[in-house]
Amino acid sequence: MATETKGAEAAESAVGMPQLDFATFPNQIFWLLVTLVVIYFILSRVALPRIAAVLAERQGTITNDLAAAEELKKKAEEAEEAYNQALADARAEAHRIVGEAKAEMQAELDAATAKADAEISAKAAESEKAIGEIRAGAMDAIKDVAREAAAEIVSTLGLKADQKAIDKAVTAKLKG
């Protein structure tokens, strides 16, 4: 029993380096070559082409997206340009309309001013004429009053008033 355990122990615990136990070499080399061949075929047939395809696809997607983004950017720039153009046009149009309106208003104003001036001068002339008439009327009335007053004074003094002499005298006095 003791020897048996000893033998088992010797098998279980390594004497020196198990790496240098040449008896196990064929086994290790055989299974290693099997492993390498299996991994090589898995990688070269399945894994690596798949990953290469995924990476290429991703690269393609990124390139496409970038191109699309470039396109959209261009479009946006174009839209902005169009917008600016429209804005400038609108501004010019507005300027034109404002100018036109101003000119129109100026013309209207001028016309109205001229009309008003004409009316004012007409009214002034009319008024002057009326004043003249009134003044003339007043002069006649003064003459009449002066004549009557002179005749009255003369008659009150008991003299026989000569109408013609009175008129003459009054006119002469008024001319003064």
Partner: protein, 251 residues
């Protein structure tokens, strides 16, 4: 039984190399060439991991990738760029081959970091085969592509004429040492880290050392996580460098 008890009582039972023993998975017996062993199991798990990441992870072929798909794409881009940058455009024919090496080593290293697992890349037999495959590929490719002018790799035309034969011998030796260093670097790094973790784990049996031991295990484990990736990276980029030598042998 008596000896075992004695052994246990006599001191710490530290067997740092036990984790590397190749043994049949089912029952006992000799390890023949086709025996299903723990090596077989962990190699198979490495295949599963590769399939899980690279095939199942990318199965949706999404334009906007899921997490697993981004990791797979990142690994793809990482190695693709490495091959393109180091070996040149004509090296891209060998991209699936180099990707196989990289993914296998990465997954074997990381699966080996699972406690109680078996680390296939800690075995010189495994890494020697990987390195020998690279060496043979590169050498055969060099001669097929360049013919005898591939030997120009050893004839440093930029050096003074008198030095060239000496340099040629040095270059020749370094060329043949390449697969050795290529394989031992990987196996040595992985094995040493795992053995150190086991040694610290053995010390943890003593109560008053245990906290320090656990701290040390954590630290070495963190280092091993780095090493697991870096060694895979180093192995792959050296493969690319050798490939470049084969494709463009003139300095």
């Amino acid at each position: 039984m008596a000896t075992e008890a004695q052994g246990e009582a006599g001191g710490l039972a530290i067997h740092p190399m036990d984790q590397f023993i190749v043994k049949p998975l089912l029952g006992d017996g000799p390890v023949g060439m086709f025996t299903i062993t723990n090596v077989t199991l962990w190699l198979f798990l490495a295949i599963l991991a590769v399939v899980g990441l690279m095939v199942i992870g990318t199965s949706r072929r999404a334009i906007i990738p899921s997490r697993s798909q981004s990791v797979a794409e990142m690994a793809y881009g990482f190695i693709y760029k490495m091959v393109e940058d180091v070996a040149g455009k004509d090296g891209l024919k060998f991209f699936p081959y180099i990707m196989t090496l990289f993914l296998f080593i990465v997954f074997a290293n990381f699966l080996g970091l699972i406690p109680m697992s078996f680390t296939t890349t800690s075995h010189i037999a495994v890494t020697a085969v990987l390195a020998a495959l690279v060496f043979l590929t590169v050498t055969i490719l060099g001669f097929v592509k360049n013919g005898a002018s591939f030997l120009g790799l050893f004839w440093v035309s930029s050096a003074p004429l008198a030095l060239r034969p000496i340099l040629a011998i040095i270059e020749l030796i370094s060329y043949f040492v390449r697969p050795v260093s290529h394989s031992i670097r990987l196996a040595g790094n992985v094995m040493a880290g795992h053995a150190v973790i086991k040694v610290f784990a053995g010390f943890a049996a003593v109560a008053w050392v245990a906290p320090a031991s656990i701290l040390a295990i954590s630290a070495v484990y963190a280092l091993e996580v780095l090493v697991a990736f870096i060694q895979a990276y180093v192995f792959t980029i050296l493969t690319c460098v050798y490939l470049k030598d084969a494709l463009h042998p003139h300095h």
